[in-house]
């Protein structure tokens, strides 16, 4: 029922948990469904929360309520001449896919799950498996509308309030609530993508092969087995995909977006499946399956854009304690030394590294956005004592190698580590205080990193 003013803010106590299971907090939340919530007479303050799928707790804190954007998920405008789509911040990548795919369009930069919201993509300035080619989500954002109780609603773009625009894109929701965004869609070259897999014998071969594959493909990433010892450490596959030049159809087939098992309350299996016994076994089997696969296979646009949808069970296998994800960029020239030190560490302190994945990154580093030139290595391992020690080891190794970590992927990163690895971290703090001297918007992430 609707029509009339509600006594905002109606709040509810919820227990939120970071996606990696590292942090859980009981806090108040709002889920407004009308623009009235942002009127001067109401002006509720809450840190924005989208799908709740970020590994690091950027959408909740004990100190301020969360503001769920689930009702602000509408599509507002589409200009077919410029392919610019205006959406509310709670619109999901799945909704955009369903809208864009029949029109032969897609969002060229996006992470791999349909439920992730546009607001979340902007706040964390996310990337896909094509970062080396298309950059980060910032590249598809034309403009946005931001709500902050001080100035009210601001129009932000590269030409209007650019300083706040760049502070908001990759600003982890700390400048206010993104209400709407105008996104530039791109014509789909083909509705079919050809994936090629290339076996590599060890991690040492990654950099060269990744650079070579990136020159000829639209997406490139790698998978490695970090549980193998000796010379074969990090053997695996490079997966390279390109739009099929022989397939002229651009009207992508819409696939049924089945219900997702992932949400903010994802708890996983009662007992973790991944351990030092099972993980090597699973990795061997996965490597064997890669060897048996044809070297070239076609996949649909949906599979290409949302690879995580078919692999959701993977996250549950870590059990209720969750997992660590460390995603680190290291300059290509230092990568060999970086992974060699990881190999040595894992030889002496074996650990169930369930996933090791590499990507090529290119871009200009600025503020706290996760970009720059180098090789990006992501590691997943169980959240236990050995995992915590390994994560701490990676922190020091990263500092030693001048690497930097993805803030949205790691819920335990400390302010010391971020200060040491992000040269513009202090500049981010200054700009944030300049825009919002009272620092109204906070999250567990901002408090932990003293932002």
């Amino acid at each position: 029922m609707s029509d009339t003013p509600l006594p905002f803010p109606l709040a509810e106590t919820r227990r939120y948990r970071s996606f990696d299971g590292g942090t859980a907090v009981e806090t108040l939340c709002f889920a407004p469904d009308r623009y009235r919530f942002f009127d001067p007479s109401v002006r509720g303050i809450g840190i924005s929360r989208g799908a709740g799928l970020s590994y690091s707790p950027a959408s909740f804190s004990k100190s301020i309520p969360s503001l769920e954007h689930r009702y602000f998920n509408r599509m507002l405008d589409f200009d077919s001449t410029t392919n610019i789509l205006e959406v509310e911040a709670g619109a999901t990548l799945g909704q955009i896919y369903r809208f864009a795919a029949p029109r032969g369009l897609f969002l060229p930069v996006q992470p791999g799950h349909t439920r992730i919201t546009v607001g979340g993509c902007i706040g964390a300035d996310v990337h896909g498996k094509n970062q080396f080619r298309d950059g980060t989500f910032l590249n598809v954002v034309e403009s946005l509308r931001l709500f902050h109780p001080g100035p009210g609603i601001l129009e932000l773009s590269r030409s209007s309030n650019p300083r706040i625009f760049f502070l908001t894109c990759g600003g982890y929701g700390l400048t206010g609530n993104i209400l709407t965004a105008r996104l530039r869609l791109t014509p789909v070259p083909s509705s079919r993508i050809v994936l090629k897999t290339l076996l590599i014998r060890n991690i040492g071969e990654l950099t060269g092969e990744l650079v070579q594959a990136a020159a000829q493909n639209d997406i490139v990433y790698s998978w490695h087995d970090f549980t193998v010892r000796g010379k074969a450490f990090g053997r695996g596959v490079i997966v390279a995909g390109r739009f099929d030049g022989n397939d002229s159809s651009t009207g992508a087939v819409l696939e049924e977006d089945r219900a997702s098992s992932l949400d903010s309350a994802t708890r996983g299996l009662r007992f973790p499946f991944f351990n030092r016994l099972t993980t090597p076994l699973v990795n061997r089997m996965y490597y064997a399956s890669c060897r048996l696969q044809p070297t070239e296979r076609p996949i649909s646009l949906y599979e290409f854009l949302f690879p995580v949808r078919k692999k959701e069970m993977y996250f549950h296998l870590f059990g209720r304690r969750g997992f660590h994800e460390c995603q680190i960029i290291v300059e290509a020239r230092k990568f060999s030394s970086f992974v060699e030190r990881i190999r040595e560490r894992l030889e002496s302190h074996p650990l169930a590294v369930a996933l090791a994945s590499g990507k090529l990154f290119q871009g200009q580093r600025e503020l706290l956005r996760f970009t720059g030139d180098g090789i990006c290595l992501a590691l997943n391992f169980p959240r236990d004592q050995a995992g915590a020690e390994f994560a701490a080891f990676l922190d020091e190794l990263m500092i030693e190698h001048n690497g930097w970590s993805n803030l949205i992927k790691d819920s335990r990163l400390s302010a010391r580590v971020v200060d040491a690895t992000y040269p513009e971290c202090e500049e981010f703090r200054l700009r944030l205080r300049d825009f919002d001297p009272r620092r109204l918007y906070r999250s567990e992430l901002s408090e932990r990193l003293r932002l």
Partner: protein
């Protein structure tokens, strides 16, 4: 078909609008805030390709804009389905409201629907098939200490829709009425209730599915029917002691 949905921008009204658009129906949306309506109308048009229009209207005011709604409906095209998923309750509705607030509750929850239906009934009779759908509340089952005026207005609405159903006999118009329990909308957000909140999306599907079917009033969720029946027959000396 062309739908006119009064109270369309949030809660059940929004779910009904989305479900109707998903089924390919054109929508004229009416609610109080043009910002929400503009977003809804644009989104439904873009996602489902249906024709949409909207009108912002304050139904609680003394001079509610019946004329504007009728004019908008004429301009939009012949209306086939008229829905009233609107309601307004006040926390302090404990029996001693001032005139202004009491009137506002009665206008939104009852009189606005009486006036609009009267104005649109002749046009609905011209259609091959037409429907009017109203939504009451289980709060109206029996008077209690809370929602005093709201419940009275909703009970009046229940009676009004019974009469409408009678008036529609032998015509092309089907009249539907739903007695609603708690729905999982903003109105119940953060409230700890004794009984579970029902999904407004499922209710919207049910309403659209039943549009051309005959049938009496529906309790939603279903368990409110026996509860309501039971409440009616609880002896006064017990009811007077209940904290309902």
């Amino acid at each position: 078909m062309n739908f006119l949905i009064i109270g369309a921008s949030a809660g059940l009204g929004r779910c009904l609008s989305e479900e109707a658009a998903r089924r390919g129906h054109n929508l004229l949306l009416v609610s109080s805030d043009s910002r929400d309506l503009a977003a809804m109308a644009a989104s439904l048009h873009l996602q489902y390709g249906v024709k949409t229009g909207y009108l912002a209207c304050q139904f609680g005011s003394a001079t509610h804009e019946k004329g504007a709604v009728v004019a908008a409906a004429k301009e939009f095209g012949p209306i086939d389905v008229l829905m009233y998923p609107l309601g307004f309750a006040q926390e302090n509705d404990t029996g001693f409201l001032d005139d202004e607030m009491a009137l506002r509750l009665v206008r939104v929850n009852f009189l606005s629907q009486v006036n609009l239906t009267a104005a649109l009934w002749p046009a609905l009779l011209q259609r091959e098939q037409a429907s009017v759908v109203g939504f009451g509340s289980v709060a109206a089952v029996r008077g209690r200490r809370r929602n005093v005026v709201y419940a009275a207005a909703k009970r009046a609405l229940t009676s009004y829709f019974e009469s409408l159903r009678h008036l529609a006999v032998g015509t092309n118009i089907r009249v539907h009425f739903y007695h609603l329990g708690y729905l999982d909308t903003q109105q119940a957000f953060g409230r700890h209730l004794l009984l579970p909140k029902a999904s407004p999306e499922r209710l919207a599907r049910l309403v659209l599915d039943r549009l051309r079917r005959a049938g009496g009033p529906i309790f939603y969720p279903w368990f409110w029917r026996p509860i309501s029946l039971g409440l009616r027959f609880v002896p006064w000396f017990i009811y007077a002691r209940l904290e309902v």
